[in-house]
Symmetry: C2
Subunit: 536 residues, 2 copies
């Protein structure tokens, strides 16, 4: 039996284009394979969110599905899509063979935690049953499940085991499983638990590509009942991979386990797909000479191409000579366009005009924010003029602390490193410098003391070695004050940081979408009230 994993990259809502791609894949593989398997919701993209409630969405799905059914002669297709039955919507797999629908299998477990919200949209499967599929000259019992159905830890039902108990010889899991660090190994480990007793193999088909905050990493695979990986697809790229069960073709691909390698791959795809899918080619980025903008620019240059990226430095009297030198050197190494626009006069004029209007001196905070917002205004004007997207350069630690200016450095179409804490920013920068043939980030940038340079002799008022993991404990692990103190953090520091995190919710409410790489990112997966007086 020949099985083709179609690790595809659909566009959310573009049912017609996704269908066209599915049809051309089917036609291409028709004579080369018996079964072709597409990921969860690959007809529509995932997540399509409230598009599912658009009055014409499901009819459009059905219309395009008909086109696929028509070309399914001489092949078996397993495909993820939403289906409506008696007024209820299911997250389903359809099984098509020789222009006939053999059946549907609906998703049982509907994740509704973190970034997921499936109970808003879908009903749960009513039954869990294998399906008999004729391949060549005999019937095979396929157990077809969808993504979360594999992850039984928090549910009463173990879908995979039930499918095997009911006679499934082959398990197919179609997924739209987002990247997070080491997720691919967690998937393997979860399969190790399940494949025992399975007659043939477990086929895991995951979506690839980025959708807003989520990066689907692909990394599809086939595993046999001895926990041997018979096929391993790449991460972060579209791939069609055919497995022939009659041949001993069990060459296990080795995935790079390095955490920074994984993160870099996810961020690069997150950026390139955001541009491609939103129809932009050019990007603009404010470069300060600091580490955050240096790392963001490096990833951006890789993702959209150096020639499409413009770096802009906007110094004031508070900007050090070294920062200008470092920024220039970075741009040179990245081979990106680079402009310096002095903003001291603009800043002084604006600051004075406000002071004169109110006959009061601006506070230091006011003037710091003014500079950040003048920069944002210039960057957005360039983006408007050049039909480019602005990159946000904030990291997770400063986003957590609110150590950033709303409508200033918090601007941008997409936040690239917003889910990396400051320590991870350094770590990834150093890994890039070690890994790339030419060192892109000047060593002075990775070694100097962090500073926003918005007033004289200003340095970031945080010891990031302590504060970055502390913010992560609060955000990722939901720690209370007493727990943090038990972990060894200073009580006064804990109180201060908890207050900063709570009081900056209003800023994050208006922040750009950021690419998720951790277990808990700011964004759709973390929903806090803005008005929030909770202190434990």
């Amino acid at each position: 039996m020949k099985i083709t994993i179609a690790q595809t990259n659909p566009i959310a809502g573009d049912i017609k284009a996704n269908t066209n791609n599915i049809i051309s894949s089917i036609n291409k593989f028709k004579n080369l394979t018996d079964v072709i398997i597409f990921p969860e919701m690959s007809l529509t993209g995932y997540p399509v969110l409230d598009l599912l409630f658009s009055n014409h969405f499901i009819p459009d799905v059905e219309k395009n599905l008909d086109r696929i059914i028509k070309v399914s002669n001489d092949i078996t297709i397993i495909l993820g899509l939403p289906r409506k039955s008696k007024g209820l919507i299911y997250n389903s797999a359809i099984i098509i063979q020789n222009c006939k629908v053999l059946g549907y299998r609906d998703k049982t477990h509907l994740p509704s935690y973190d970034v997921f919200n499936e109970k808003r949209y879908f009903k749960s499967a009513k039954t869990i049953e294998p399906i008999d599929i004729l391949i060549k000259d005999r019937y095979y019992k396929f157990g077809i499940e969808i993504c979360e159905d594999l992850w039984d830890d928090i549910y009463d039902i173990d879908v995979t085991s039930e499918l095997i108990q009911k006679g499934s010889e082959i398990i197919v899991n179609i997924s739209a499983s987002p990247f997070q660090v080491d997720r691919v190994y967690q998937r393997h480990a979860k399969c190790y638990e399940k494949v025992k007793g399975l007659k043939y193999f477990f086929i895991y088909v995951n979506m690839v590509g980025a959708q807003d905050e989520l990066v689907f990493d692909g990394s599809s695979f086939i595993m046999d009942s001895n926990k041997k990986i018979l096929k391993q697809c790449n991460s972060f790229e579209e791939q069609f991979s055919t497995f022939d069960s009659d041949l001993d073709n069990t060459k296990e691909e080795i995935l790079n386990k390095n955490v920074n390698h994984q993160i870099f791959g996810a961020l690069k795809l997150g950026v390139s797909d955001y541009f491609k899918k939103s129809g932009f080619t050019k990007g603009v980025i404010g470069i300060s000479g600091g580490i955050d903008s240096a790392l963001t620019a490096t990833i951006a240059a890789q993702a959209i191409g150096s020639k499409n990226l413009m770096g802009v430095m906007m110094p004031t009297i508070f900007t050090s000579k070294n920062s200008i030198k470092d920024a220039k050197e970075l741009a040179k190494r990245l081979k990106i366009q680079f402009k310096i626009i002095q903003i001291s006069d603009l800043f002084n004029n604006l600051s004075k005009q406000i002071e004169n209007s109110f006959n009061v001196d601006n506070s230091s905070l006011t003037n710091e924010n003014l500079q950040a917002r003048i920069r944002a205004n210039i960057l957005m004007a360039i983006a408007n003029n050049q039909n480019a997207l602005l990159f946000n350069t904030g990291n997770k630690t400063e986003m957590g602390l609110g150590y950033c200016t709303i409508y200033g450095d918090m601007c941008g179409a997409i936040s690239v490193i917003g889910d990396l804490n400051k320590i991870q920013v350094y770590s990834l920068s150093k890994w890039i410098n070690k890994t790339f043939s030419e060192i892109p980030i000047p060593l002075n940038i990775t070694s100097k003391k962090p500073s926003a340079e918005l007033r004289l002799n200003q340095y970031d008022p945080f010891d990031y070695e302590v504060v970055s993991p502390l913010v992560d404990e609060i955000v990722n692990n939901r720690r209370s004050k007493s727990e943090l103190i038990k972990l060894g953090y200073d009580s006064k520091l804990v109180t201060k940081i908890l207050d900063l995190v709570r009081n900056s919710e209003y800023k994050r409410k208006q922040s750009p979408p950021g690419i998720k790489i951790s277990t808990k990112a700011f964004g759709i997966g973390r929903r806090f009230p803005i008005i929030n007086k909770y202190k434990d």
Copy 2:
């Protein structure tokens, strides 16, 4: 029997302060009433969202609940709160009497549509049973349900009827039901369906107060089995109302049915509570001489007090003399502080500097956005200097069309009229002028042609009489292209407006929270992908 409705206004997460308020109410009413009833989740505020997952949140609820139980001698208390049992969290009512917990009743229906997301947090009740409560000398069967349990239309189970079938003599519904236009009458109408066969009465106790985008309107009531309203609490204010079933005290309060009256009340409370609960007293607003900022300023002045509001006009060469005159006149009538800050020089300098740096003329769009963003920068500087919050002045129609500048006029801590379409903006403005003793909005503002005044002779390129309801059809009613054409809209216009709505999702992602008054507001209740290529 004396029953006290405690229509309270808790603060999200402020468990300690909410508990203090509950305890002082209990002490106050102990000798005046038999039963006191507090709204859904009134111990914690609603919605507290992911605060529920904070490691110490539920223990804090339990600790504070103990304080309430201790003061419950000589009174019966029904109170909404989250409770954890065997690792699962329920949205519950606790029944306390004489320092003992008589029992819990859990919410059956967990709304997870529009702004609601309860399946993310809660488990559904396992059983539906009345509870016997001894009042004076006999037991009464109370059927206690929570908010959505009343609204059985989309569910298989009719909780209220089941409670009555099982012998409930009194139904208590504790709610955190957000305002929308005419919601209060929909609640009455839903109760009309249910009260038949009920021995005594239906007691509906709703939360009051604003939480981020939601305004809980209160409007609690008691209805007998003849559909007679025995008690009607006010909308939009905290109230304690005691009903004595032994007296013929059935004076029905008349609520004002006027839609603009309702909307004004909701917006005013939305603003005043946002300020109060976030600890701000002062507000700043950009006044353009147009209708949107005039209406927003009028509501804001009412909500936070004229003396706390500062209006700022920032003219350029494109600003008409009439606009300046109208803005001045508005500020005078509202008795708010008012400043004029010329931004022509700032705009020209910034525009030229960008043009010189790139040796290219700015596009018209670039220059229009520049002006809007200079204004935002000034307004935010004033907000920083004055420790004030900035009001956003956008309406729902322009938010839908993306006819607004991100990081420019889209800035603000709170959007006041963001759920009113342009027609509603005019309607509410005219109602205010007719209703208030002094006409606050100069008639020239309510009658002139809308213009952003960002270039010469610029007028809004939309016929709002057509486009405002069209955007509402798309946003509120999820209409497809073919449906809209069937409704009589021009096909070319429909295509254009659908594109504008879809392509401005990225802006709305970074927009301020807005006060919800319609069935579908932008914000947490409308979740669309940013990358979205769906065209039906």
